[in-house]
Amino acid sequence: MTAIDFSTTIGNTWFPAPTFTASGCASSGRELAQFFPLREMGGIVTKSVMSKVRTGRPTPRMAETPSGMLNSIGLQGPGIDAFIAKDIPYLTEQKARIIVSIAGETVEEYSTLARKLRSVSGISAIEVNISCPNVENRGLVFACDPEASRRVIDGVRRTIGGELPIIAKLSPDVTDLVSIARGVVDAGADGLALINTVLGMVINVDTMRPHLGGKTGGLSGPAIRPIAVRAVYQVHAAMPNIPILGMGGIASGKDALEMILAGASGVSIGTASFGNPTAIMKIQNDLKQLLIDRGFTSLKQAIGYAHRLETESADA
């Protein structure tokens, strides 16, 4: 392999490779560590953690759909204290670069989570999963409400101070993604994670009722990739200087490249790891080679390249 600068930057943080796990698709790392050393990938984005222990939704929690799947986990997790006590030390020991994903039911809960994380060392960035129901506003998902999104990010920013990059993770289930993105960037997000799952449902034709225990679920996997690429492209067009962690159906090096060309500074791999425990390492290696094959000497040259070519041909 020829030399290529494969590193990427989100906020002030440097990562040696642009390939991350997707939140909720790598638990907190131990399980994947049995298949490859965690330090070899760009970084791990941990499962969204909340203040308290959560048991999550009833089963069935998943349904396979054409080239995709629905999940309805309901953010099962150990709570932030246990997470900080057990998972962060393990990941640090593995020399993994850590992006901690947080989730809350109120604006206040997000700030509380940020406060607990502020003093924890070894964290590279915080991903704020705002695709959660806001209990203070009739369960309306934060990410679907420009004002609520902004307030969550603003609260986290104020609490965390200026050091740690904040990545706001948005939902594609909105009329105007760009305006939500602008709002959270104005409120202090250093980067954006696009996209969370798309709301979907499967009805079991034998029981004749919704298949999932939680009725609706989040659609992920290759089925949603064109939606994710469009989202990244739109937001990058509007805010070319904001780093984006692109995700949604990436299952190969080519898919990762597509996302980078659309404007992502890095990619997260979610559902693909379910099909192949080592998917992320393969994607990382293949992406590197594809960039080299196309004559790029750095990843950064490729970020948003699909936009630049357009401008060039428009000029010509």
Binding site: E31, N71, G275
Partner: protein, 278 residues
């Protein structure tokens, strides 16, 4: 969580043979040295549908037996029921087709340190992993008795050579088309008493496992059951396959059946809470 899957590997493994047995397919796969790492109770996760498949998730199958043959090196056997799209695809693949597998996954059946009498109960294709288990138990000096049940004869999986390691084998079918008419759970209580059973091992439909737990609980006999929940990842990262299980302190947690299972302590599983919000 212990490092349960530390010997798991992803492998391209060719099918050695695929034979129809009743309503099931006995599929033997060449897995080389990995065979030495598989224990009774472990499962294998198999890609289905080929390269351009719309099915993105692996299918889980109990490893029914492994052997080291001189012709093929290590092989693994699975007993697959053609259920939906994915398992039907698998059952239709012939000799030489190369499967993408991850194995061995999950917990294994615990083997008693003393040679105690044990009862193995299998429902449908759930009997498959019990034969390999029987051999291990038998080698440990345990007296092994076996009960197999299914709705009908063609859903009983009971290979000839499987009887080698067992003291007795009784078959129950609901329609009476093979063995005795009735449910496999009917005689358990009596057998436990008669044979002074120390451990019941079971594998089969969740309703059967739940029913067995009721019986074993009332006899305070250990019940090791292999559960079957829909799994997206099979390796512990997705949290879809959870079951409510009682902790030491009496609280209930949602444990992953892929990595804290499939073999679980039946008495700890909160069968009544399965599928309910906690």
């Amino acid at each position: 969580m212990s490092l349960i899957n530390k010997s798991a590997a992803q492998l391209l493994a060719p099918i050695v043979s695929n034979k129809k047995v009743g309503q099931y397919h006995q599929i033997i796969i060449n897995i080389g040295d990995l065979a030495t790492l598989c224990k009774p109770g472990n499962f294998v996760a198999i890609n289905v549908g080929g390269d351009s498949s719309s099915m993105i998730l692996r299918r889980a199958f109990a490893i029914s037996r492994v052997s080291i043959s001189s012709t093929f090196g290590g092989t693994m056997e699975i007993i697959a029921a053609p259920h939906g799209q994915g398992s039907k695809w698998l059952c239709a693949q012939g000799e030489g087709v190369v499967l993408d597998i991850v194995a061995p996954l999950g917990t294994a059946f615990g083997i008693p340190t003393e040679p105690v009498p044990v009862l193995l109960v299998g429902g449908g294709y759930g009997s498959a992993p019990l034969f390999g288990l029987a051999e291990v138990l038998n080698a440990r000096g345990c007296r092994v008795d076996m009960l197999l049940g299914a709705s009908t004869a063609s859903k009983i999986y009971a290979p000839m050579e499987g009887k080698r390691a067992v003291n007795s084998m009784r078959i129950y079918t609901e329609d009476g088309s093979m063995g005795q008419a009735g449910r496999v759970t009917d005689p358990i209580s009596e057998i436990i008493k008669d044979l002074d059973i120390a451990v019941v091992y079971s594998c089969g439909p969740m309703a059967m496992l739940s029913a067995i737990t009721k019986i074993t609980d009332s006899h305070s006999v250990v019940h090791q059951c292999a559960v079957e929940e829909a799994m997206a990842c099979g390796i512990g990262v997705c949290m879809t396959c959870v079951l409510p299980v009682e902790n030491e302190d009496g609280t209930v947690s949602m444990l992953r059946s892929c990595i804290d299972g499939p073999v679980m302590d039946g008495s700890k599983v909160q069968w009544d809470l399965v599928g309910k919000p906690l």
